[in-house]
Each structure stands twice: as structure tokens, then as C-alpha cells.
């Protein structure tokens, strides 16, 4: 658990971050979203003290981050950035091994960890490990950047616009991969983005920042249905907010008992996808199938529409 208490950063007369307080649950993904200049990156960088706060403090599991040397603190926290920041003169394996080496891990342990991470990130350990970053594609470089951030098994991972430089197709894949990896390692993730869709897709909680303040910090559904500020509404967009709301829930979560339908959807599909499927096929309802093929119940068009209604 991370507690941010009245955290402030002031440059001259400018308050870039203005008395922000929030708590972040362990094992969750928190997305800080805002326009450029909102202070979101500064807030993130104060967590690992790349920026020293003017006032306020950050507690990780009850320990004040100011109580230890900044570089030792950072070795315990993963850090991944937009342009991936890979070291061009080091191989992929050496890049990933950076923090474990700093921590003085044994060679065999480092090698095993590097290999494990390369596999997890779908990179060939033999072919890829000895390559230099410039020999990889943009998507591969980005994955190596995240793998490097996770190398020393940090409990907390900070990500500053990690997918900003990727094209839409690769970005979507990278987001899915991040969700998988978060489930696998149980890492607490704090991620900064300016892309509200990305925030809704990844965040268990989303914090909307503007002019150094957090306007609202809540579950994505609450941001859509009960925005605390007109700016939150504007940032989420009003044109497709019903569809956005539907995309936050899976078919499995909404399924109710009922007769078997000829149309079937996967339990993991979002309600948005189910709605699209029903419109396309002209069916009134669909049966929700668990991954093992058993029925989880049914979802009807009427129930879908009711779920997307503001209430």
C-alpha cells in the first residue's frame, strides 16, 4: 500500500503538484491521467524521488521514502518510460540485468531471471538476449524496457507513458500483455498517460489530474457515471460514454440464469463487444460461455442497454 500525503512540488511561484493525497492499493493498477502540464509525470517521479517533493511525503507499506538514500529506494521500484531509455551500448540481456547487478545478485540467478523475463515478454532468450537495442523493433524495445523495469522483482512499478511511442496495433497488444504480466507477478503499477481510453482499459483506479490537483480518483465506471468535475466529463468524452461504460464490464459479470440461446459469447468479452455482436447478428440475447465451454448464463439486449444507462 502506497500513501501519498499532501505531496507538493513548487518551482518558483509555480505549484506543479499541489497538495495531492491519495492511497494506492497493493496489487492494483492506478492510472494517472491528465493533459500535458497537469503535473502527472511530476507526481509519478516524486514517488521514486527522481523529483524531490517541496513538501508532503510518500509512504510505501508505512515506510517514509525519504528515510533511505534515493538511489537505494529506486533500485526497489521498477521504472519504465516512453522512449524506453534502453542503453544503446549494452545488449538486451545486459540491459535487463542492470538492477539485479546493482543489487549484487549471483550470476546464475541473474541469468535465470533474464531468461524468464524474455520468455514472459515473448522474446527469444537465445536470439534476442545478445542483440543490441537498435536491432529490435519498436515494440520489442518497449517490451525489453518493461522487462528491465521488472528485473529485480519490484513490488511497485512506475510507468511514464510507456506505450506513447507505439502505433495503435502494437500498443493494444502491449496493453494486453501488461494486464497479463500484472496478474502473473501481482505487481502494483502506477502508470501515467494522457490517453483516457488507455486509462479506462488498464486502470483499476483512475486519477484525473489538472493544474497540479487530483480532480477525481476512483474506479473507471464511477468516473463515467458520477464525474466529480466537468473537466473529468470532458476528458472522458461524452459522445460514446455509454459504450465506454459497457467496455468496463465483462459478459461473465453480467450473466444471469436463463434459457440457452443459439448465439454465444465468451465470458471474458466486454459488454461493448457483446452489444456489437447482438446488433450485428440481430439476436435478442446470447449465452455466455466459460473458457471450459460450460454456460455461465445469458445476457439479453435489454439488460445490456439498461447497464449502459446513466444511473
Amino acid at each position: 500500500m502506497i500513501s501519498i500525503e499532501a505531496l507538493t512540488k513548487q518551482y518558483g511561484a509555480m505549484r506543479v503538484v499541489d497538495e495531492v493525497s491519495m492511497s494506492i492499493e497493493s496489487g492494483s493498477i492506478t492510472v494517472i491521467v491528465g493533459t500535458s502540464g497537469s503535473g502527472k509525470s511530476t507526481l509519478l517521479r516524486m514517488i521514486n524521488r527522481l523529483v524531490e517533493p517541496t513538501s508532503g511525503r510518500v509512504l510505501i507499506d508505512g515506510n517514509d521514502t525519504a528515510s533511505m538514500p534515493a538511489h537505494l529506494l529506486r533500485r526497489r521500484i521498477g521504472y519504465a518510460i516512453q522512449s524506453n531509455g534502453l542503453f544503446p551500448h549494452r545488449t538486451v540481456a545486459e540491459n535487463i540485468a542492470t538492477v539485479p547487478r546493482l543489487l549484487g545478485w549471483e550470476k546464475a540467478r541473474i541469468a535465470a531471471r533474464v531468461e524468464e523475463l524474455l520468455r514472459v515478454f515473448q522474446l527469444d532468450p537465445v536470439a534476442c538476449g545478445s542483440k543490441f537495442p537498435h536491432q529490435l523493433s519498436g515494440g520489442e524495445q518497449q517490451r525489453v524496457g518493461v522487462a528491465r523495469a521488472l528485473a529485480a522483482e519490484p513490488a511497485l512499478l512506475l510507468m511514464d507513458e510507456p506505450f506513447g511511442a507505439l502505433d495503435p496495433v502494437i500498443r493494444s497488444k502491449a496493453q494486453d500483455d501488461l494486464l497479463d504480466i500484472q496478474r502473473r507477478f501481482g505487481t502494483t503499477i502506477v502508470l501515467v498517460t494522457h490517453d483516457m481510453d488507455e486509462a479506462f482499459r488498464l486502470g483499476d483506479r483512475v486519477a484525473v489530474m489538472r493544474q497540479g490537483r487530483v480532480l477525481q480518483h476512483d474506479r473507471p465506471g464511477v468516473l463515467l457515471t458520477r464525474p466529480a468535475d466537468p473537466f473529468v466529463t470532458r476528458l472522458s468524452g461524452t459522445a460514446d460514454r455509454a459504450l465506454k461504460l459497457l467496455s468496463l464490464t465483462t459478459a461473465g459479470e453480467l450473466a444471469e440464469p436463463g434459457p440457452r440461446e443459439s448465439r454465444t459469447v465468451a465470458a471474458g468479452a466486454s459488454l461493448r463487444e457483446v452489444l456489437s455482436d447482438l446488433i450485428w447478428s440481430g439476436a435478442e440475447a446470447a449465452t455466455v460461455l466459460n473458457p471450459d465451454g460450460t454456460s455461465a448464463g445469458r445476457v439479453s439486449l435489454a439488460r445490456l442497454l439498461a447497464h449502459g444507462r446513466q444511473s
Binding site: 527522481l50 529506494l73 529506486r74 519504465a80 524506453n84 531509455g85 542503453f87 551500448h89 538492477v99 528491465r148
Partner: protein
């Protein structure tokens, strides 16, 4: 009837061949002097070569010219250029042996303007051929070592001993070794001192942008002072220092000699190294440095493991500039008693003995060329390792 298309003429080869023809026809290949300071008179090929040898010599050069003009294969061009060098060197060695009466130590047989032009032209042809072969850094160094070895063996064999430059060498052989050591010591010593100071200064300029303009401005100013003027400027304070502080004088610090030379060369060396360190560090990706900080590298670790390795090729380029510059500038240091090959050059000028000037000048050119090539290879190697 079929028209055969002429192969395209090689521009450099054509130019060099034209120069070669002019050198061979109009300029003296060797010059005969009754003693070392009188003006000489030209000697024609047939005066020192038997007819068959003179004919084959001209034939070889004609073949080289044909290849230079019409053949594009780099290996063939290199082979013929080297054959030309061997022919020219053999001819001049033969001239020395043929024109020197036995036992005569007074007359001088000097390579003439024609010889030098031919040698330079063939050298350019060979270097151009090597460049076209795009050899890797290791290969380039190997070629350099082989050329130096070949030249060294040819000279050691005694084939050229009757030529004027070797005569001057024979008279000055003890001094030659001493001045060579002195020349290297001055050039490399001032470079080493400059790197020790300039590298931290460059890092400081990178870290503290406020001082950058000031430091680079002052170093730029130093760079614009002509070398002779700087030697002069340094004489007074160093002389005063030696007079006031006895142990400084004991260390060899004096108004003239090596001390002002080293100080001046050191000052000249600062700007290229500082400027290239600043540029090299600025070129390092800010994202890599940010990521390194974010992962918990200390400032020292970032400098040692990320910034300096990534800036090294640019810094080495600066060191290369300084080394070549210093090897040239040390020559001028001889004017204030600093020693080095410049001592032969200025002594030769004073005595109007051109052979003595060449005895100093040729090693300086060779030294500068070799250092540039070695450091270029090193920079290339770095750039290949870290892109």
C-alpha cells in the same frame, strides 16, 4: 560492325597520371650536388640507369598509369600502385649507388622534385585504392604496420645509404633518436596532461551549463593565439618562476626549452578535448540517463557506465585532433629550444640544407599520418561496438 564502349575514365587516376607524366618528363628525378649546400643539377634517367632498366622503369610507370586511368578493381589498383612505389624507390636507390664515386663523402645525391611528385602520386593512388576496399579498422592498422615495416626494412637494408637524406641521417643518427624521443614526449606528454584536465572540465561544463560558454570562450581565445606568440608570451612568466623558485628551476622549468613548449601545447590541446567531451555527453540520449537514474544508478555510475562510454567515440575524435595538431606544433617548439624533429627543420633552413629539413619533416608527416590512422581505427571500433 560493333562499337566497343570505352570504359569510363577514372578521374583521380587520370589526374594523378597526368601529374606523373609531368613529373617524369619535366622535373628532375635526382639532383647531383657537389656538396650539401650548393644548388644541384638534374641528372637524367639514362645517366644512372642502364638502358634496359630505364626502359623497364618507364614501362612500369606507364602500366601503373593505364591501370589508374582504366581499371576500377581496387585490389588491382593497389597492387600496381605498390609496384610503382617499388620501381620509384629502386630507381632512386640505384641513382644513389651509381652517381656516388666510391669513398666520396662530400657529394650529395638528392631525390628531386620528380621523385617526390611520383612518390606522392603513387601514395595517393594506393591510399585511394585501400579506401575503395573499405577495410575494417583492424585491417587498416595491419596495412599501416606492414607499410611501416616494409619501409623500415628497405631503409635498414642500406639500399638508400648513398642518398642525401640518409647521409644527413648517418651524420645525425644519435641526435635523430634523441629528437624523436623528445618529439614524441612533447606531443604525447602535453596530450596526456591535457586529457587529465580537459575531461573533468568537459564533464563540469556538461553538468553546469552556466560555465560552459565562459570556459569554451576562454579556450577558444587561447586557440587563436599564434603558436610562436604563445611561446613568447610564456617565456617571461616561466623564466620569472624559475628565477624565484629554485626547485622549479631544478625541475627543468625555464623560460626557454621544453617547459614553455609543453605548457603551450597543453593549452592548445584543451579546447578540442573539452569541446568534444561536451558535445559527446550532450549527444547521450536523455531517456537513457533518465532510465538509469530511475533504476537507481548513482551519478558516478551513470557517468562511468552510461555517459562516458556513449560519449567516448566523440571524445576520441577530439583526442585525435589534438594528437595530430600537437605532432605538428612540436616542430615550432624547436625555435625556443624545445627540441624534437623541428630542430632538424630549423637547422636545415638556417644552413640552406634542404636534405636536413626533410630529415626532420618526413618523420613528422609520417608520425601525424600514423597517429591519425590509428585513432580513426579506434573511433571506428568504438562506433561499431556501441551504436
Amino acid at each position: 560492325m560493333s562499337l566497343r564502349r570505352l570504359p569510363a575514365l577514372d578521374p583521380l587516376g587520370t589526374l594523378l597520371s597526368a601529374v606523373g607524366v609531368v613529373a617524369l618528363v619535366f622535373l628532375p628525378f635526382v639532383v647531383f650536388k657537389a656538396n650539401r649546400i650548393v644548388p644541384g643539377e638534374a641528372r637524367a634517367l639514362l645517366e644512372f640507369l642502364p638502358a634496359w632498366a630505364a626502359l623497364s622503369f618507364v614501362l612500369v610507370l606507364a602500366l601503373v598509369a593505364l591501370v589508374a586511368v582504366g581499371v576500377s578493381n581496387a585490389r588491382v589498383r593497389l597492387a600496381f600502385a605498390l609496384a610503382g612505389v617499388i620501381a620509384v624507390a629502386s630507381a632512386v636507390a640505384a641513382a644513389g649507388n651509381a652517381l656516388t664515386p666510391p669513398g666520396n663523402q662530400v657529394i650529395r645525391i638528392s631525390p628531386g622534385a620528380g621523385f617526390w611528385l611520383l612518390l606522392i602520386g603513387l601514395g595517393l593512388l594506393a591510399t585511394d585504392a585501400v579506401t575503395r576496399m573499405r577495410p575494417g579498422p583492424g585491417m587498416r592498422v595491419l596495412l599501416l604496420v606492414l607499410s611501416v615495416l616494409a619501409a623500415g626494412l628497405a631503409i635498414a637494408s642500406g639500399a638508400f645509404d648513398h642518398l642525401s637524406i640518409m647521409r644527413e641521417y648517418a651524420v645525425n643518427s644519435d641526435r635523430f633518436a634523441r629528437e624523436a624521443r623528445r618529439h614524441l614526449l612533447l606531443a604525447f606528454g602535453s596530450l596526456a596532461a591535457a586529457v587529465v584536465v580537459a575531461l573533468p572540465l568537459g564533464i563540469l561544463c556538461h553538468r553546469i551549463p552556466r560555465i560552459r560558454a565562459g570556459v569554451l570562450g576562454v579556450l577558444n581565445l587561447i586557440q587563436t593565439i599564434p603558436s610562436i606568440a604563445l611561446f613568447g608570451i610564456l617565456m617571461a612568466p616561466l623564466g620569472a618562476l624559475a628565477a624565484a623558485v629554485p626547485w622549479a628551476a631544478d625541475l627543468g622549468i625555464r623560460g626557454i626549452g621544453a617547459a614553455p613548449a609543453v605548457v603551450a601545447l597543453f593549452l592548445y590541446s584543451l579546447l578540442p578535448v573539452v569541446a568534444n567531451t561536451v558535445v559527446g555527453l550532450a549527444r547521450v540520449s536523455p531517456a537513457a540517463v533518465d532510465a538509469a537514474r530511475g533504476m537507481g544508478l548513482t551519478r558516478g555510475q551513470i557517468l562511468a557506465h552510461i555517459e562516458l562510454p556513449l560519449a567516448l567515440p566523440v571524445i576520441l575524435t577530439g583526442i585525435r585532433i589534438v594528437l595530430v595538431q600537437n605532432i605538428g606544433l612540436v616542430t615550432v617548439a624547436a625555435l625556443i629550444g624545445g627540441g624534437g624533429f623541428g630542430a632538424f627543420v630549423f637547422q636545415g633552413i638556417g644552413q640552406t640544407a634542404m636534405d636536413l629539413v626533410l630529415l626532420g619533416a618526413i618523420p613528422i608527416v609520417m608520425l601525424a599520418f600514423s597517429s591519425a590512422l590509428l585513432l580513426d581505427a579506434l573511433v571506428d571500433l568504438m562506433n561499431r561496438a556501441a551504436r
